[in-house]
Symmetry: C2
Subunit: 431 residues, 2 copies
């Protein structure tokens, strides 16, 4: 049996979708790494009654560990610690050492930042004093910002509760300390380790995969020992399988089946994303981008990772026709003859990017993201791509992508990454 956990994300701004929750996914990853089975993530606003209801729900579902995020700030709507204390039947007491730590942090912050000019230390400290209140018997996780976390040990069959702050850059550094506490170690004792593996495909419909998986169920022995989840996202299919280590041969049979049936679409069996693969293939090379409808999204994605400056030269966002001519050297006659969204223009853009940046690899994208600008011949979603290597090959494609403006832009970015991957693989073959 695997230890089970639940995550409670608090904050009206997260509940109402004004802020995207980054903690639930991050905590989910950490729990999976530990071999803990995540059963539920629940989100509620800054209301003690709703927070308490979620804690009761998770305890009732028999989880061994609850992790909460958010609600530790100085404002009156931050009430997670008090609510958890009540739920665990423990009183709240001021921790004098913690109060002194918070006072020191505030003094340093106020002395450094202009935006505090004129603020009264005592008034600010009054607002932050409640952050020094902790449940009796809880272990304190020292603050990264001004908010400390706490670990409240479970008792009488109740789960252990780890209370963490909302800002990811405060929450994340506290995690290792939280996990190291005796209370958490005890809650997770005796867990089964699981292996998790990811296969990625591009360009296969989900129903075709479903058919193959049904065949696998019939043909692969012990298939039911694999817990398979599939997810289609902007043309990419992700197949994540979780299994106990001794079911590795069953998983291996699944990989063989998928490779045999869908070898052309399968691009990763080791969890690597197309971004990882393109980054590796770009080692020793220099890339430049020329983007119209995606307007910098491919450049931003390529530079997302540390160290990308060793192979990214730069790019041009050529949103206007004038920019295509002035910055990339696209011929005015070509634009007039074929229109900005056309394969000849995409090829001229990619050639311009190669030349202007002195790069050996380039990608160009020009398309109609909508909602306006479409025509009968070139409807919204029409996007032309060209990828080119200095040593020769150019690949140019026109696709019609589904969805709204944001979908078309994001999906175009993903398609560009896959075209780059393909052309760079041919370079590898030739070398």
């Amino acid at each position: 049996m695997s230890a089970r956990a639940g995550i409670v994300v608090t904050g009206t701004e997260v509940l109402t979708g004004r802020v995207q929750d980054r903690n639930g996914p991050w905590l989910a990853d950490r729990l999976l790494e530990l071999g803990v089975e995540l059963a539920h993530v629940t989100i509620c606003g800054d209301r003690p009654g709703d927070i308490e209801a979620q804690l009761r729900f998770l305890a009732g579902e028999g989880v061994d560990l609850i992790v909460t995020s958010g609600g530790l700030g100085p404002t009156a709507d931050d009430m997670t610690v008090a609510t958890v204390a009540k739920f665990c039947g423990r009183d709240l007491v001021v921790d004098a050492a913690l109060e002194a730590t918070i006072a020191d942090i505030l003094k340093t912050m106020m002395s450094r930042s202009q935006s505090w000019a004129g603020a009264d230390f005592e008034a600010v400290m009054a607002a932050n004093r409640k952050q020094a209140m902790v449940p009796v018997g809880a272990e304190i996780l020292p603050p990264v910002g001004t908010a400390p976390g706490v670990v409240v040990p479970g008792s009488d069959g109740q789960p252990t509760v780890v209370v963490l702050p909302g800002p990811p850059r405060e929450l994340q550094p506290m995690w290792d300390k939280a996990i190291a506490t005796a209370a958490v170690q005890e809650a997770l004792a005796g867990r089964t380790e699981f292996t998790q593996a990811t296969i990625r495909m591009f360009g296969l419909p989900e129903s075709a995969l479903a058919e193959t998986l049904r065949d696998g169920e019939a043909s692969i022995r012990d298939f039911e020992r694999l817990e398979i989840t599939t997810c289609l996202r902007r043309g990419e299919l992700e197949i994540v399988t979780r299994y106990e280590p001794d079911a590795a041969p069953v998983y291996s049979d699944l990989v063989t089946l998928l490779s045999d049936r869908h070898g052309d679409q399968l691009f990763s069996v080791d969890g690597a994303t197309v971004d990882d693969q393109v980054a590796a293939l770009l080692a020793g090379r220099t890339i430049a981008t020329a983007e119209s409808c995606t307007a910098g999204m491919v450049a931003a994605r390529l530079t997302d990772r540390a160290g990308s400056s060793s192979y990214v030269a730069g790019g041009v966002v050529s949103y206007s026709n004038q920019a295509k001519m002035d910055l990339l050297g696209v011929d005015a006659d070509l634009l007039a003859a074929h229109g900005a969204v056309s394969e000849p223009v995409a090829e001229a853009m990619v050639a311009g990017a190669l030349a202007r940046f002195g790069a050996d690899t380039a990608v160009a994208i020009t398309g109609i993201a909508g909602p306006g600008g479409g025509s009968a011949e070139k409807p919204v979603g029409t996007v032309c791509f060209s990828v080119r290597l200095a040593e020769g090959p150019t690949v140019t494609r026109t696709l019609r992508l589904p969805g709204d403006r944001s979908d078309v832009r994001e999906r175009s970015t993903t398609v560009a990454m896959h075209l780059l991957r393909s052309i760079l693989l041919t370079a590898g073959d030739a070398a």
Copy 2:
């Protein structure tokens, strides 16, 4: 009393954070527009037991309406309809008309798409047949993709359940039809309308706001009639207040208090984002970007909205020093003397962007996003910004931004938007 609702998001890929949930936030917005109070969002994997536990939890919390998303696909891990039927005590039956509709959709899809080449219609239809199974007495929401939704009326004090598919572009078009059903209308009958208003600030610490709100509690009559939530995100503070319409004078007092205390930081009282404001201020103008560490993120953000092609000329992602020289005309001596991350280089970049794109407005960003590249003098997080209008003013700033690579890049993008807003406002004043 407001009607209360809960949202159940299913899907192991969402639970484990591999896919960001876009439906919870979107549904939350729709419910708030209807004046429905959203109490809980719960996320679980594709396990019937966990889905059922969440439905029971929400029903136990007394919600009037439950909306589920996901788990309607053809694969075996999609089991939401069957689970909801069981929870509502209703049998599942095949709907013949719906089965015919799904068959038609599949035939069209298979005939149009290359990726289906060689697939057997009967096998695919077998996979999709379970999508035609609906709970007895449920209302069917016609499919947008291949998955229909259903509305299962509440009975005996149980909530009405709206079952929607996971892909946002299938879920969203079904919403209006779901809301129009008699079962949903009945569940939401007698709800109180609420007004919701948003104030935005930039550059104010959360504790300073907390202090002001405590003063408001003491000085503003009926302050408790305002339900205020605050959220700090990359330097922006968002203050959302929900109140019954007759408490409008109380809210007006709050706005006055915040304007008096924090007028310099307050940039929006009408819900408009800095993106909305910059877009409005750019009407009749032309903007170009020159980005180093943000590498296209500002250009991508400016072009996020439909119609931006009327004022965005384009931009240069000048990741390498060579690109700064070749594409933006930054002087090699300037780079050598001050380094790429310096105010003189930012000013040369902004001048280059103005000139090369023939624009009248430009923004340049050069900084150290990390994790490498920092020094004692210029640590990671050091970012230089320059904004300039063709008619004269240039504003240049150097900031030290907190957080990791991704934080620094995103926060730099937000700072750039605020600097653009400020300089464009001075242009408006001069005109």
